[in-house]
């Protein structure tokens, strides 16, 4: 009995020794402080202010070839709309040149005789909208905005003449969890995923590679510590570091960016902790596979950071990707983290959503740790 106790105690002591050594190494190196504190804050700040899909004010050129009351009224409706900054253009040619030279996003042409044709019985009146299609997302919003102004103009005109035509079928759209459809609300939880990936994967990808490079792995192998102790001891300090960064990110999001937190801090902590299993596992796997820090860092960037940016549903909706790419996203832990964080922040503790996602993260993490375990032999070749 006391024999087991001693063994357990010495196992713990060894583990603690590895952890203390790793923690000292982390805290002593100024560059890891930069990664752990300065980078996350800078990135969250940049992501929060720099990334937005909400088209605010569109520069539009209005070419009015018609002097009628209706033409002036429609032009005025555009000018007074909060969506547009109207740049006057004298004729169609100069309007088109403004569009060509990327000075405006759209040109609206109200052709000559617009008013006359609109008021006559058997002619049809058209306004023409030329949109810069190079940036399709903005183009779609410009379509929507101009349409809204156009329909508003027609409705007001109809009302004035007592011939109001109600839209026969209307769509009442409501956005759950994000009533104003603010893109920042889903982009900030996504940014946290990217930052956590950066910390978890990029930082740990260097830990064993560094020991290989410096030759200190030999010294570590010469000690009585076991593989398991090395793995746990090397992971835990980074786990704590990443959790601290996460807490900093959450506070910034709530206080500075006014994000709602509809779920609980408990769920947030749990999800973050679970996500770190695959994130750290991936970093360790890279670290034992690559023998140099340079190669490890590059691989970490390519397989950890970039997929978290591009393939996690952070910016680009996974459902719209081609099937082969959707299949790849299944093994990207950031994908599950994104859904979970967005859910906890915007929707609440929906355990029916969180538990399956956490299980997926644990499965991917188990795979990574298993592979690391197999590759980490306690010998040098």
């Amino acid at each position: 009995m006391s024999d087991t106790l001693t063994r357990v105690r010495s196992w713990w002591q060894q583990l603690a020794a590895v952890m203390i050594k790793e923690a000292k190494q982390v805290t002593r190196d100024p560059s890891s402080w930069i990664i752990a504190v300065v980078l996350p804050l800078t990135f969250l700040f940049l992501f929060g202010y720099g990334i937005s899909l909400d088209t605010t004010v569109v520069k539009i050129a209005v070419v009015r070839e018609d002097g009628s009351r209706d033409a002036r009224a429609f032009a005025a409706a555009l000018t007074s709309s909060k969506w547009f900054l109207v740049v006057p253009a004298t004729d169609r040619g100069s309007g088109e040149r403004l569009l060509q030279d990327q000075n405006v996003k759209a040109v609206l042409v109200i052709p000559a005789e617009f008013g006359t044709r609109l008021n006559a019985q058997n002619t049809s009146a058209q306004v023409q909208l030329l949109v810069d299609g190079a940036e399709p997302n903005t183009a779609n919003f410009v379509h929507g905005y101009v349409n809204a102004v156009w329909n508003g103009f027609l409705a007001a005109r109809g009302l004035e003449r007592g011939t109001a035509v109600a839209l026969p079928v209307s769509v009442e759209a409501r956005y759950w969890y994000n009533a104003n459809a603010v893109s920042r609300w889903f982009l900030i939880p996504g940014s946290m995923t990217v930052i956590m990936t950066l910390l978890g994967t990029l930082l740990t990808s260097l830990v064993i590679a560094r020991e290989y490079e410096r030759g200190t792995l030999e010294a570590l192998y010469a000690t009585p510590v076991t593989r398991g102790q090395i793995l746990i001891g090397k992971t835990l300090p980074y786990f704590l570091l990443a959790m601290i960064s996460m807490a900093v990110c959450v506070l910034t999001a709530l206080l500075l960016f006014q994000l709602p937190l509809r779920g609980s801090f408990l769920a947030l902590g749990l999800v973050s902790g679970v996500f770190l299993v695959p994130a750290l596992g991936q970093g360790l796997l890279i670290s034992v596979t690559m023998r140099t820090q340079m190669a490890a860092a590059q691989l970490g960037l390519m397989t950890g950071y970039l997929p978290a940016m591009m393939l996690s549903g952070f910016l680009f909706d996974i459902h719209s990707m081609p099937p082969w790419l959707r299949a790849i996203t299944l093994v990207i832990p950031a994908r599950y983290m994104n859904v979970s964080l967005q859910t906890v922040f915007l929707a609440g503790d929906l355990w029916s959503v969180l538990i399956p996602n956490m299980l997926f993260m644990l499965a991917v993490g188990g795979l990574f740790f298993g592979l690391t375990w197999r590759r980490l032999h306690k010998r040098l070749d």
Partner: protein
């Protein structure tokens, strides 16, 4: 002096290209990234799954669903008995929204009364949800137009096909024409952007690591004791990335225009001038970082810390116009922002040389600043 400079350039090229693996590492990963990211980076909304709660069960409700099924944007329209059941599908992100066709929908329309449908959307994916709402509005509005008996004006139908609204006055139409990218193909937007962004990464990384590696290997002192002056050594390190950038840009240009069939409507000379100036600006930043740091790891981190803000504040992912004014100001000193503007102008828009010159001049100014700063710092550190 020229002779010594050329000798340094040759030496740098040899170190960079000697190892076949390193040679491939310069070319292959960016091309793989070009392929993957151009497929991944889309804000078009496709394969939409929309839950339908049909409380009406009338002929018009069936017709709306038929129209949705006929649109190629919607791939699945699972039906649910009530909103509560559909909600759990939405929570699990199986559907992006719920279309509720209320009871009384068909009777109202049959009687000529205005009717409305409800669309509940997942705000966690608000961008995709907004676009989905536009699609649904168009389709539902078409149902209304078909009913109101208005003559199906060809132009109005064309406008309705691409936009959310429709004309409530039968003889008035808003005709939309998308320039430069008539089908609003997202890849046409992304590929020219990737040409700029990927060459940024390469030019920056090569120079950022160059001095740091020599410091680590101890060969830096050897170069310093050679007859070449520090300025010559610095310039010698700045030139090879330009060569790599030219080769890569040519490859990208071929892939983007031949394989993806994105039009190139601009001037080829302006394209290469832009690539060269941009690569020089990035190489300057890289050398600056490299002169500051001591190890490759720090250089890597430094390059990364610069790369990300450059990429974020350039209009690569989201438009510059959406940023607050003070960040828009920051983008004017970001070489990538000008590069992307140039690429969009050259590929899709065929913008006039005069308008491109603005960005080119800005890029040149930035390149000059970074090069001078890098060379000065390098000379100070080397002395």
């Amino acid at each position: 002096m020229l002779q010594r400079l050329l000798a340094i350039v040759r030496k740098e090229l040899i170190t960079m290209l000697r190892d076949p693996r390193a040679r491939w590492a310069l070319i292959i990963p960016p091309i793989i990234q070009l392929f993957i990211f151009s497929s991944a980076a889309t804000m078009e909304v496709k394969n939409i799954a929309l839950a339908v709660v049909d409380l009406d069960r009338g002929p018009y409700a069936a017709d709306v669903q038929q129209r949705l099924r006929g649109s190629r944007s919607f791939t699945s329209l699972p039906r649910y008995a009530n909103v509560a059941a559909a909600r759990s599908a939405l929570e699990r992100e199986q559907v992006i929204g719920i279309l509720v066709l209320p009871s009384g929908f068909s009777p109202d329309l049959a009687a000529g009364r205005p009717a409305s449908v409800q669309l509940l959307l997942d705000g966690r994916r608000s961008n995709a949800a907004q676009i989905t709402a536009q699609y649904v509005s168009t389709i539902v509005a078409a149902e209304g137009t078909a009913l109101s008996g208005a003559p199906p004006d060809a132009n109005a139908a064309a406008a309705a096909a691409v936009t959310a609204g429709f004309a409530p006055t039968p003889n008035a139409a808003l005709v939309i024409d998308n320039w430069f990218n008539p089908n609003l193909d997202y890849q046409w937007f992304m590929l020219p952007n990737l040409v700029g962004t990927l060459s940024l990464g390469v030019a920056l990384m090569i120079t950022a690591l160059s001095v740091a590696r020599e410091r680590e290997l101890g060969t830096f002192d050897q170069t310093l004791v050679s007859p070449a002056t520090p300025v010559e050594i610095a310039l010698g390190k700045l030139l090879p990335p330009l060569l790599v950038a030219i080769v890569q840009a040519t490859l990208y240009l071929l892939i983007v225009t031949l394989l993806y069939e994105v039009p190139f409507r601009g001037n080829l000379l302006v394209f290469y001038a832009a690539v060269l100036t941009f690569a020089e600006a990035c190489a300057g930043v890289g050398l600056f970082i490299s002169s500051l740091v001591h190890t490759q790891q720090q250089a890597f981190l430094g390059a990364f810390a610069v790369l990300l803000p450059f990429a974020l504040l350039s209009g690569f992912a989201t438009p510059v116009e959406n940023m607050p004014w003070w960040l828009q100001f920051v983008t004017t000193i970001n070489p990538l922002a000008h590069m992307l503007h140039l690429m969009q102008g050259l590929f899709l828009k065929g913008a006039s040389v005069v308008s491109l010159a603005q960005d080119l001049v800005k890029l040149l100014e930035i390149a000059l600043c970074t090069t001078v700063a890098a060379v000065l710092l390098f000379r100070r550190k080397a002395a």
